[in-house]
């Protein structure tokens, strides 16, 4: 095994071009577990810790450019207003120690369906800034996840940043685990209301081979909100609409049975989380404010 320590982004790209099998390591929260448990022996480890810009973020007019290694704890603390869904998701990541090291780049690189950030990114709308010595490109989040633990990155590409749409409405995130902290998702659900475009976006984690959106549910809800004039009236959403949304979200799930949960439970739980998070976000949109967001 070789340990590559590029001092700059350009050096990192060059190293990755020269050694496409090199495994990038930043927070180490996935890679080191695999090494410690002898599940993986990469030929090269490519340490990204020395590249300071990866741990920085910029808040633009419409988007936040989030460096791939910005730790979850920083997102929770500093980007709650701009990225409320991702901030909530960040709070559910493993433990404080892990949140101090891990960042969105790792979740995306590993592309596990159980990665906590994915549903929030899908719901908010995001683009992954991937780069190689050949050039830079932006991969829409909807096209990023290509299979179980597979993503759209080319072997010579590294994730530099994620461009996430700033919230234009309430967002929520919910995750089921069988412990009250430090737990991997049995399944997860993210929702973002986008009043500016009068759309709703969602993300489902751990309930399909990849993170997915519940598109039928989104379309149904957008249409129902539009037809009922809810965006303007800010009326309470009728229970039947919420139920239909929840059922469609559950229907979007394509889960499996495993040691963490059964497929049928996952489907059921996605539906419950969809209904609840819709309720919380809509109450928040209505201006009810207090008591809908949850505090911790």
């Amino acid at each position: 095994m070789d340990f590559l320590r590029p001092a700059s982004w350009e050096e990192a790209l060059a190293a990755k071009a020269e050694h496409p099998t090199a495994v990038p390591i930043a927070g180490g929260t996935d890679v080191m577990v695999e090494i410690n448990f002898d599940h993986r022996r990469p030929e090269y480890l490519l340490d990204l810790n020395r590249i300071g810009e990866l741990s920085q973020w910029e808040v633009g007019e419409d988007t936040v450019r989030l460096g791939a290694s910005v730790p979850y704890s920083q997102i929770m603390e500093h980007l709650r207003a701009e990225l409320p869904g991702l901030a909530l998701a960040s709070h559910t990541v493993a433990s404080p120690q892990i949140r101090n090291r891990g960042g969105v780049g790792g979740n995306l690189g590993t592309a596990s369906p159980a990665g906590d950030a994915h549903p929030a990114l899908l719901a908010a709308g995001a683009e992954v800034e991937a780069e190689s010595v050949r050039g830079s490109r932006r991969i829409p989040i909807d096209d990023f996840y290509t299979g179980v633990k597979r993503n759209a990155l080319a072997p010579d590409e590294l994730i530099r940043a994620v461009h996430i749409k700033k919230a234009d409405g309430p967002q929520q995130y919910s995750k089921v685990g069988t412990r009250n902290a430090m737990v991997i998702a049995v399944c997860a659900f993210g929702i973002a209301l986008h009043p500016e475009t009068r759309t709703v976006r969602t993300g489902i984690g751990s309930a399909a081979p990849t993170p997915i959106r519940a598109t039928a549910a989104e379309e149904f809800l957008a249409a129902a909100l539009d037809e009922g004039g809810f965006w303007d009236s800010r009326k309470i959403i009728t229970p039947s609409v919420a139920k239909q949304f929840a059922d469609l979200a559950a229907g979007a799930a394509n889960p499996i049975d495993d040691v963490r949960g059964t497929a049928s439970y996952r489907r059921h739980a996605v539906g419950i989380m969809a209904r609840r998070t819709l309720g919380w976000t809509w109450e928040s949109y209505r201006g009810a404010g207090r008591g809908t967001e949850g505090v911790a």
């Binding site: 340990f3 390591i25 080191m32 090494i35 340490d47 404080p96 892990i98 090291r101």
Partner: protein, 200 residues
Amino acid sequence: MRVNFTVNGRPQEADDVWEGESLLYVLRERLGLPGSKNACEQGECGSCTVRLDGVPVCSCLVAAGQAEGREVVTVEGLADFAKQRAEHGGCATGACGTEGTSLQDARRWSARPQDSQTGEGGELAPVQQAFIDAGAVQCGFCTPGLLVAADEMLERNPSPTDADIREALSGNLCRCTGYEKILDAVRLAAARQAELAEGV
């Protein structure tokens, strides 16, 4: 490979490090600092918690090479770290012995004739003394990680609520105590800290 970094205020150098080694392994097996514990080596227990450039992390998930040029504080340096923080009112780095637990020491080990008396022996950080006084230590394997995490929380949040304490320590498993006495210990450390601050 060779790795250079600072541990508890002292520059350290480790040679012939295998590239897959964790910071935890280097601390324990190469630098003679076995205080950070190896309970799970997968980031799921917190017993290896150290501060890396001031931030609590699981040292089992930091590749040794990633520590290059950085500052690490372990439980062995916690007392000095806390002392310097108290004296200088800011981030401090401590110093500690570089000898590990040699077999010689282990052979010679025996419980000290005196119990770990309350308030005596000013060599401990307040949170360390509070863990002893409150009965928060049983087997003690989770203790070093909890101490580093708890000390950092009290640095950020000197008067935490119970829910704050629980959240801050939710990454540290303990199998012996049921956590009640750990909560007691952190409350005690916070109270003593507050008393001291008032005194000043």
